[in-house]
């Protein structure tokens, strides 16, 4: 289980206890499903973005894209890039393209966050301020999604929150394959989804934020929330 290392964390996180929210009422499925789904989600968004880019290029060249072409391109991209043994793909070495993919991943996460907030917002206690909401993310949401809590939460009490997860669940399977910069690069897409989730949850409670993340080495992950406006 996550270690209680910093007293600041203790102070911040122990004030709220886990609601007996209807987690027991949630339908259950096999954890492997999401685990296998996640890299394919990334692949699909990469394929879509590549295909859109190619179509735009063809348009610029005055060539028309036939529907069959589009379908074939999706096929090609999927076949060329999938590493079926592990599911993790080699991402295209095109930073502009990957930026677009990250934006989509964040958007996907954002919608997920909104739905999670609707579904799991505590009924019998009010989240009074932004700090309450962030703690809700660190404890309740993280527990629902990853079966553990955020390891460390820091805030400057002026709208910036830093969440640290030393064993980010989605990174655990990635650590072994390669080291250092290559691993961090492979992990990039997977960071944007939880950023979006966090942003979506906060937005549901009326708090607009920018959420970014970085990893200093798998499986560690640090999320930074910056409040844009409070309502």
């Amino acid at each position: 289980m996550s270690g209680d290392t910093s007293s600041e964390m203790t102070q911040l996180l122990s004030a709220l206890s886990l609601d007996g929210k209807p987690v027991a009422e949630s339908r259950q499925i096999n954890g492997s499903v999401f685990e296998f789904f996640l890299p394919e989600l990334v692949n699909t968004l990469v394929a879509t973005t590549v295909e859109t880019k190619r179509a735009a290029e063809r348009l610029a060249l005055g060539l028309e894209t036939e529907p069959e072409d589009t379908a074939k391109q999706i096929e090609d991209v999927g076949n060329a890039e999938a590493d079926s043994s592990a599911g993790w793909v080699e991402l295209p070495d095109d930073s502009e393209l990957m930026e677009q993919v990250f934006v989509k991943l964040e958007a996907v996460g954002f919608r997920v966050g909104r739905r999670l907030a609707e579904r799991f917002a505590p009924l019998n206690r009010r989240l009074v301020d932004t700090l309450d909401i962030v703690k809700f993310v660190c404890k309740d949401i993280w527990m629902l999604l990853f079966n553990r809590q955020v390891d460390n939460l820091k805030t400057n009490h002026r709208g910036v929150y830093v969440l640290q997860d030393n064993k980010f669940k989605w990174f655990l399977r990635m650590s072994g394959n390669c080291g250092g910069a290559a691993a961090a690069r492979r992990a990039q897409p997977y960071i944007w989804l939880p950023c979006g989730i966090i942003r979506g949850i906060l937005e549901s409670f009326g708090v607009s934020t920018v959420v970014v993340a970085e990893t200093l080495g798998l499986p560690q992950c640090t999320f930074q929330i910056k409040v844009v406006s409070d309502e």
Binding site: R27, S32, F37, R111, L145
Partner: protein, 187 residues
């Protein structure tokens, strides 16, 4: 034989599976569908993306299933249909479709009475009316899993309660057996 598969499936679900709340998967899948609808103009492309996604997942799920249940692969299509429904669906989605509507020895339907993806589905009726099969990932999964069981199949949606049909029906036609010894086709 069918009863044995049910037992294997139940066993696997109870003892060999890490159970998680379904919401993360259901919401993320739904969110992906929304994103794909924005990125593609027509639903055929979205259906195809979902099928491809499902295929890649199905290949890995089949591996996982065989690893956890020590089942033998078999070439009997009837038995394989039961394996898919009573073991595959059961141990991964905790739902067991009914196998039925055999039209010949190689074509049958999976009637999915309880589709987890339908929980919290928020798509507007228009998208569903335009030809989108919201849960098309399931067709890909079945297709990919069957390929791992050395069967090349066509898998497609026939009916979906999300579209107002009375039931959710996925049709499977096994087109040929894949011989594992056959070398890759000449390019």
């Amino acid at each position: 034989m069918a009863k044995q598969y049910k037992t294997i499936g139940d066993e696997a679900w109870k003892n060999s599976v890490e159970k998680v709340n379904a919401e993360l998967f259901i919401f993320t899948y739904g969110s992906l569908v929304v994103q794909l609808l924005r990125d593609h103009e027509d639903c055929t492309a979205v259906n195809q993306q979902l099928d491809k996604l499902g295929y890649n997942i199905g290949v890995r799920l089949a591996d996982d299933m065989f690893a956890r249940t020590s089942l033998d692969r078999c070439s009997d299509i009837h038995a394989t249909a039961d394996v898919i429904a009573k073991i595959g669906f059961r141990m991964f989605l905790n739902t067991t479709p009914t196998v039925g509507l055999w039209s010949s020895d190689n074509e049958f339907s999976l009637l999915v009475e309880d589709n987890p993806l339908n929980d919290f589905c928020e798509l507007p009726p228009r998208a569903l009316g335009d030809g989108l099969w919201y849960s098309n990932v399931l067709c890909g999964v079945v297709r990919g899993a069957l390929e791992m069981m050395h069967m090349q199949a066509r898998v497609w949606f026939v009916r979906d309660v999300l579209r107002g049909d009375d039931t959710t029906e996925i049709r499977v036609r096994v087109e040929r057996m894949l011989d594992e010894e056959v070398p890759a086709a000449d390019e």
